[in-house]
Amino acid sequence: MSNSHRAGAPQGAGFILNNFVIASVGGQGGLLATRVIADVLVRTGAQVKTSEVHGMAQRGGSVMSFVRRGVGDFSPVIDPGTADALLGLELLETARALPFLRPGAVVIANTECVTPVPVITGQSKMPGDLAATIRKAAGRLVLVPAGEIAVRLGSGRVANVVCLGALAACSGIDQALWLDVVAAAVPPRTVDLNLKAFAEGVALAKP
């Protein structure tokens, strides 16, 4: 086997996602989502790399992380124009990550919007219709009112898992794998709640 890079290339006949960007605001659970996606991809038997930037993650700043699946040597960082899928846990951050998408990419976007401090203080303005901007760049877009769903289920904290469910439904990867990994990644007493949240996301994304 050549040790050349094959991340991003279609594997097999089906449509399989290889390069994932996860965009969130610090404290939203973006790093947990990154871990879940990575662990699922590892279980498919692939080489997996993730990259994230810590330090400011809890301070409400933009947090972007990457998960890649491939063969041989490849960078853990996704370059602009090459992501197959974007999991956006907040609408403004989803829009910010659009330059990373390749044409035709899948976008899962939480419709919640967290106002950044420069907008609160009047230094900058929120742009117009973020959802429309995102729709233009996406091959397939699933808008997820994850906050509302999570609150209805009993905890706003599972919004990220609702979004993961929607991503899983578009991933071409066995749902059972996702369920196993989600159950193992969350605190034991919250497993049932998280699996319900996951199922809501799956239902939303089903064509």
Binding site: R43, P76, G81, I120, M126
Partner: protein
Amino acid sequence: MAKDPQTALLYGNEAIARGAWEAGVRVATGYPGTPSTEIIEAMAVLADRDDVYVEWSSNEKVALEVAIGASIAGVRAMACMKHVGVNVAADPLMSAAYMGVNGGLVLVTADDPGMHSSQNEQDNRWYGKFAHIPVLEPSDSAEALAFTAEAFELSEQFDTPVLLRSVTRISHARSLVQLGERQAPAPHPYVKDTAKYVIIPANARKLKPKVLERMDRLAGFAETSPLNRIDWPAGLPVGHRATRGFVTGGMSYSLVKEAFPDDPVLKLGMAYPVPANMLRDFASRVDRLYVVEELDPFWQAELRWLGLQPVGKEIFPAAGELSTTVVRMAVARHEGLAITGPAADSGAAEVAPRDAIADQAEPLPARPPVLCPGCPHRAAFYVLRKLRLTVTGDIGCYTLGVMPPLSSMDTTICMGASIGAAIGMRRALPPEQADKVVAVIGDSTFVHSGIAPLIDAAYNRTDVVVVIMDNLTTAMTGHQGNPASGMDARHQPAHQLSLEELVKACGVERLWVVDPNDLKAMETAMRAALVPAQGPAVVISRRLCALIDASLRGRDLVTVDLDACIACGICFRLGCPALAKNADGKPVVQPGLCVGCDQCVQVCPTGALASSRGGDRQ
């Protein structure tokens, strides 16, 4: 979480800890700093209490000195820090390089190209050349594990400290590793050897030639060590010349392999010293020789020293992180090739990722990191801003006090520099300006390197005001313990340093201890401290970090009476992310963010903002 229990998806930092553990490390030290922090955290989890001694040291110099002592005593020891931490530890490092080791000694430096969380992007490979010690540089988590273990072997084989260099994209990237068992090398007996371990001039003069001879032997080792290797493409006969070849290593290796998978690559796993013959031979087999490295032209200079003429920083940026696209585009442009691939298709090919983000049609508002809702630093900075002070700052969460609307920081230099800088400004400015200079420093940073400058102020009777922002933890890097918090690296109770007694012992006679969330008390203390006097004054602004304060577990505890609100905007001067502005310029509590610290309730002049906690707060 992998299928095979012997493989795991580990961060580079976890893999470094694992590698040291498998190599039988007995003493592991460090000071928290992004992107290095998780090495010691992982070691504290991995290692049995009796098996490995793990500590958060009071600073990086102490961390390395503890590791040196353990090495002299005969066991394997490791000190871990971020790149600028090595500057703090440089003094013992330079001595240890002469002394050599008894048990293996490894210094881990985690560099931060791109300055994701740092004040500079210094390239710490230079410390290898500077101190005359070898440098190993892994390219992924599997190598992070293997190279750390190898570093201990090299250290003992060549009687030298070894520098292991990581970067953010190694430390905070995960990839699959094979796990091994812990080895238990027998400790080397401690034998008193003053000619080796007391580096007075007479001894150091004898040690220096040995150091130089050691580097010659290491350069010879580099020629044959599997740490360095050539990936020669399978389709290209070995005797044939390739049109191009790359010398690279570390993070850049994976970029080159992804951008040019079919070209020959000489991978330097040992970043210093470099293998001269291997490099000359490789250069003779390729038409165009490229050196791909992030930051400084370190290897390029080494190759030039060998008389080779590689292409390097003429086409690859010397600032920031490289990327697959940047490497591919730079080579394509240099060779006049057509640009193809996904990056070109997307139109993003001409720019690095961050520029691409900035380049969008409709500019998006930035989301800089901010002080958290309920953060006690916010209250303290609000008061400093109100008093219109000149503030020398320091390194920690509170550095975010520089951001609008608090905008209450004038300088930030390096760990511990706030107090010295304030002394200098006080001594240099005209009196009416000098009286406004205040230093702010966090609890962990004060213990790290703020004590000596405070003693300096007391000793020289400099009338400087120091605010110690004590949130009882090392918050920025993820709530590690420190001497003032009374918690150790294993989250166990430890001796708790009394900042009050320490400050008094430094010679400070005027001391206030206040809860900054009581804004009136904070202002009163600051006004008192600012009264001109002989010698320094200290205000300890003490309140537990809001992220770990169990009393701030509520949500949406502040209510707004929009009829009572006069839209004066004073509450927005706090810069709290939980308070958004509606179309009338009045505050709206953002769902899920307010923790009920009641700072805004205190600044509201009309009582429009009210706490639903009732009267039990003050």
